[in-house]
Amino acid sequence: MTVAEVTTAAAPLVRGRTLRRIRRDPMGVVGGVLLLAVVVAGVFAPLLAPYPPTEVHFSTPFQQPATVGFALGTDDLGRDVLSRVLYGIRASLEVGLLSVLVAVVAGVPLGLLAGYWRWVDAIVSRLADLMLAFPALVLAVGLAAVNGGGLANAAIALGIAQIPTMIRVVRAETLRLKESDFVLAAHTMHAGSSRILGQHILPNALSAIIVQATVIMPTAVLGEAILSFLGLGIQPPDPSLGIMLSDAQQYLFRTPWPGIFPGIAIALICLGFNLFGDALRDALDPRSAR
């Protein structure tokens, strides 16, 4: 399969029609704008942040928001909350993307195989059931505790916890698509299994996979905040929205601001992905054509 073929296969997904449909959905527009804002904040954090996120100003702790020099105030060590929120968003998005990547890379092939061959299904689905028996977060906490802290480990732990749901989604799509007439037609052309899975089933399952990815993303962002809050995720002094919450907790009654802003940031990230994901799912569903 050449690169050109891949792009033509995915083309209907990204053609104007989908975008137009999202634009017509007010919730989708809100989600898209939030998402854009969050991504810009994360990507350009080094340019936007007025201070390095770990720089302490011992002379000016607990500043109120709108103080000159510290737009969102400072925390107990005098660190600029705005800078830390921006870097925290960046870290959250990194964790989110990485864990989506883990879930997709492991979940999609397993789901395809499980949907296509019954004997693989027997093994893969039982293992997935086993993993689903534990709440995803408990699983992630366990894995993070075993592997130790840090951004990459947290992302991998959260990604692994999401593999079973990805398997289920892809498996269901595969089961549906392998009975379709165009797959039957491919059989009569003596197309091999890899051809049928890779070129017929996978491109048609892409929309479901993309939508599932947008569901996993906010879960992972939230998961990172929780792991970091518990001290199992990103390690201080690196900025993370979860760590900011956990730090702010001790001084919550003295100055609530250092806790409120990262909380808002988490909420906005999750809201953006959820709204956009919903709109994307509606837009990609061919049954909602009119």
Binding site: D181, F182, A185, H187, T188, M189, N204, L206
Partner: protein, 528 residues
């Protein structure tokens, strides 16, 4: 003349800002039967829905008036319409599979209608529902009323829907393609029964259908619609025998009829495909028994000839086709392609056999990968068989598209940008790509409108003459078979009940079932 029951004048319906129906007028006297005929997208269903105030989504009546016994109901409120629907105007919807609540007993669904319209109290409702089901032709109504919809066949479900529609003895029954999802013999029983019931009750009937033969058979007046407008209206027989408008003429000419001139070409008789004593058994889970989906079927397909398999749903015709294509292994029997056994083939010999036969499936919406462009779809068999390089494949695709009369510009479109007929042409082009000797057509035209159907049948027959193709043609439509096939098998419950040359089987059937099938073809007497 009595005052009209229903009078529609200059009706216009729009969806958002695209008009769906324009200037439609029709009248219906009490007890009269009128058919609205048209292809998909002609606005016939929209008209019917506008009458009962059930336009979907953004649909709005923008002009004209609908009068029910002189009362203007064009913009009547929901309360008035609710009383009108069911009580005064009954509706038999198109799809019997999705219009019954799957978790509620059938009898209860009929009783609910009675209670909702205040026809009787809760106590008598059940008994009356059982009576109604009995009248609708359901055997053992007392027992079957306790069953759930999934325990009913398609025909039986349609009878339930008729019972519901007639429960309150409406003055008008609107039947929206009431039988298009059903087999032809079942369709006949249902319509016979519907006719009898409406006769007894003096109910007027507005039949919405795409089938001109059906319309002429069952109604006294026909309204032909196309692209949202009424093209022609008149007494049923007259419209059929002396159509005035060009569109109606084309429509009448395209109806495959039992006496139509044949497209069949003469050809030599050496067989391409020989199927002998083939059976397929499925193990029925839990009951330890076996289901014989196909039972001892034998036939041949001559070189350059067409053999048709005719049967209703569940007759085993598609399973037979799938066994020939090697998609389903045969339990017993032999299938010879050009004298070589293909049952149980594997690897390279299976590959060679598959190259020699290609399928065209029923539903052109499902048989093309929606994520691929037309040129990629048509080139796929060439790629899987490693024929040629990029350049030669591209020129072969152009040649194939030309053969099926598709403009070269279509090559870069996606299937969802094509019409049903164009998609089926793409599927045919794909089937021809490898230069097969046998093309297995599984109901290739049954999902298409009659004008398009006619074009595709023409295409198939001219390709046969040009390329010397042999067809195994699966169909439920005897008229289509008549116009295309040389030999025919009639299947029922997995067995062949009759087989032979088309002329002989269709003009002098020896089997009772074949005779029933022939009689059930709508418009058979009129077109003959």
């Amino acid at each position: 003349m009595t005052a009209p029951l229903l009078e529609v004048t200059d009706l216009a319906v729009s969806f958002v800002d695209s008009p769906a129906v324009r200037g439609v007028s029709l009248t219906l006297a009490p007890g009269e039967r009128v058919a609205v005929v048209g292809q998909s997208g002609s606005g016939k269903s929209t008209t019917a829905h506008a009458i009962i105030g059930l336009l979907p989504g953004a649909g709005r009546v923008t002009d004209g008036a609908i009068r029910w016994r002189g009362e203007d109901i064009t913009h009547a409120g929901e309360r008035r319409m609710r009383r009108l629907r069911g009580r005064e105007i009954g509706l038999v919807p198109q799809d019997p599979m999705s219009n019954l609540n799957p978790v509620s007993r059938v009898g209860r669904q009929v009783a609910e209608t009675l209670v909702a319209h205040g026809m009787c109290g809760r106590r008598q409702a059940w008994r009356q529902a059982v009576d109604l089901l009995g009248q609708a032709g359901i055997p053992e109504p007392a027992r079957r009323a306790r069953q759930y919809p999934h325990e009913f066949s398609g025909g039986m479900r349609q009878r339930v829907l008729i019972a519901i529609a007639l429960a309150c003895r409406p003055d008008l029954l609107i039947a929206d393609e009431p039988t298009s999802a059903l087999d032809v013999t079942v369709q006949r029983q249902i319509l016979d029964h519907l006719e009898k019931l409406t006769d007894e009750l003096g109910t007027a009937l507005l039949l919405v259908t795409h089938d001109l033969g059906l319309a002429v058979d069952r109604t006294s007046r026909v309204v032909v619609m196309s692209e949202g407008e009424v093209v022609e209206t008149g007494p049923a027989r007259q419209v059929l025998t002396e159509p005035r408008e060009e569109y109606t003429k084309r429509l009448v000419a395209a109806v495959p009829s039992l006496s139509a001139p044949k497209r069949v070409t003469a050809a030599e008789v050496s067989p391409v495909l020989e199927v002998s004593h083939v059976s397929k058994e499925y193990r029925v889970r839990g009951r330890g028994g076996v289901l014989r989906a196909v039972d001892d079927v034998s036939f041949t397909v001559g070189r350059g000839r067409t053999t048709a398999i005719v049967g209703e749903s569940g007759s085993g015709k598609t399973t037979t086709a799938h066994m020939v294509l090697g998609l389903v292994p045969a339990t017993s029997g032999r299938i010879l392609l050009d004298g070589e056994e293909i049952v149980g083939l594997r690897g390279s010999s299976l590959r060679a056999a598959r190259r020699a036969m290609q399928p065209v499936f029923q539903n052109p919406y499902a048989s093309l990968n929606p994520m691929w462009t037309v040129d990629r779809i048509v080139a796929e068999p060439l790629r899987t068989f490693g024929v040629g390089d990029r350049a030669t494949r591209r020129s072969r695709v152009a040649e194939l598209l030309d053969q099926v009369a598709l403009p070269a510009a279509m090559a870069h479109r996606y299937p969802n940008e094509l019409s049903g007929g164009q998609r089926q042409r793409v599927a045919i082009a794909r089937a021809l790509a490898l230069g097969p000797r046998l093309v297995v057509c599984d109901e290739p035209v049954s999902a298409l409108d009659v004008l398009v159907q006619d074009q595709i049948l023409d295409l198939l027959s001219s390709l046969q003459a040009e390329l010397g193709l042999s067809y195994l043609f699966i169909s439920h439509d005897l008229a289509v078979v008549r116009s295309l096939a040389h030999d025919v098998l009639v299947m029922r419950d997995g067995r062949v009940v009759e087989q032979g040359p088309v002329e002989q089987v269709l003009t002098a059937p020896t089997d009772e079932y074949t005779r029933q099938l022939l009689e059930a073809v709508p418009g058979a007497t009129v077109f003959a």
